[in-house]
């Protein structure tokens, strides 16, 4: 056993860009996996010095503490607007935003749709867990019909709360987008696919091909009041019926 544990035999380790700060996310949170994928992709592309992330308001507000690249913190929902400015000033850079569904699909809907429609050369990583995680599990625009949250304790009803918003489907209709996809990170195979999608989006940003949107259907075990393993199972059973995983637009 001892002769296996040796540096030359390492086949997987935490990416070096993901630093040793303890992540504040709840145990089993999808954010951790996506952070890891972003760090891995940036490392593999060799663009550490050219990568600029824009962190949102929401659970991922401290993303800049965990991945050692340049970051800018945006006002709530305004990450795509800020990323637009950064990319226009530094056109050679990889510019991406990292946003949750409350940030991107609610308060930032206008910024998101217009940035994508203008075809800004940015990548948007959209974490959709159908709930407001940080503020305590309230209903989000993306909450599924019938899903119970703190502010719709009897389940989401169409007459009272309207319908869940499929922002990724909207993005696929816009002229400015070059790559729109929906992925998840609940299994090894899904994580590998999600990594390829993030890499594609980042390459699109660097090569100025247009806007990319990568939605990651995620869990919120605290907000859903489940264990991380149960949350993944619940997501497979309920979320994928409404949020179909796969590429929506590849140009």
């Amino acid at each position: 056993m001892e002769n296996i544990i040796s540096p030359e035999n390492i086949v997987y380790q935490k990416p070096t860009l993901l630093n040793d700060n303890d992540m504040h996310y709840c145990p089993g949170c999808s954010h951790g996996v996506v952070h890891k994928l972003i760090a891995e992709v940036i490392e593999e592309m060799g663009v550490t010095d050219k990568a600029v992330g824009v962190s949102p308001v929401g659970c991922a507000v401290f993303a800049y503490k965990y991945i050692d690249i340049d970051w800018q913190e945006a006002a709530h929902g305004r990450a795509p607007a800020l990323a637009t400015a950064i990319k226009r000033l530094w056109p050679e850079n990889l510019v991406f935003t990292y946003q949750g569904d409350g940030d991107l699909a609610c308060i930032g809907t206008a910024e998101t749709i217009h940035a994508l429609n203008r075809g800004e050369n940015i990548a948007i990583i959209f974490i959709n867990n159908a709930i407001y995680g940080m503020t305590g599990g309230q209903m989000a625009p993306t909450t599924l019909m019938g899903m119970k949250t703190a502010t719709c304790p009897y389940g989401r009803q169409a007459d009272l709360h309207g319908y869940p918003l499929k922002i990724t489907e909207i993005a696929a209709q816009l002229e400015g987008t070059c790559y729109v996809t929906r992925q998840s990170v609940h299994s090894v195979a899904a994580i590998r696919k999600a990594k390829r999608a993030i890499r594609q989006a980042f390459e699109n940003s660097i090569n100025r091909r247009g806007s990319s949107l990568v939605e990651i259907v995620s869990t919120c075990s605290s907000g859903w009041k489940k264990t991380p393993v149960e949350a993944n199972e619940w997501m497979e059973e309920h979320m994928f019926d409404f949020y179909h995983v796969g590429d929506l637009k590849v140009v």
Binding site: N3, I5, N9, I10, N232
Partner: protein, 77 residues
Amino acid sequence: MAKMKGAIVVNTERCKGCSLCVVACPLDLIQLADKKVNRRGYRFVEQVNAEACTGCTSCAIVCPDGCITVYRKKMEN
């Protein structure tokens, strides 16, 4: 025939005991430590029956906190 032997090292101080690796391991070689917690109060995971590990990296890929380092070596026997 050459056989792949693997080993994992868990950063137990970083681990939050979410158990996603426990279900991801195809050989069921990982479990939550019994009556042990780290400095942040989380139960952490540890490997059982380490001899059987093939170093497939499934546990490390699903780990949200990047706590697992995987080693793999081809054994001639």
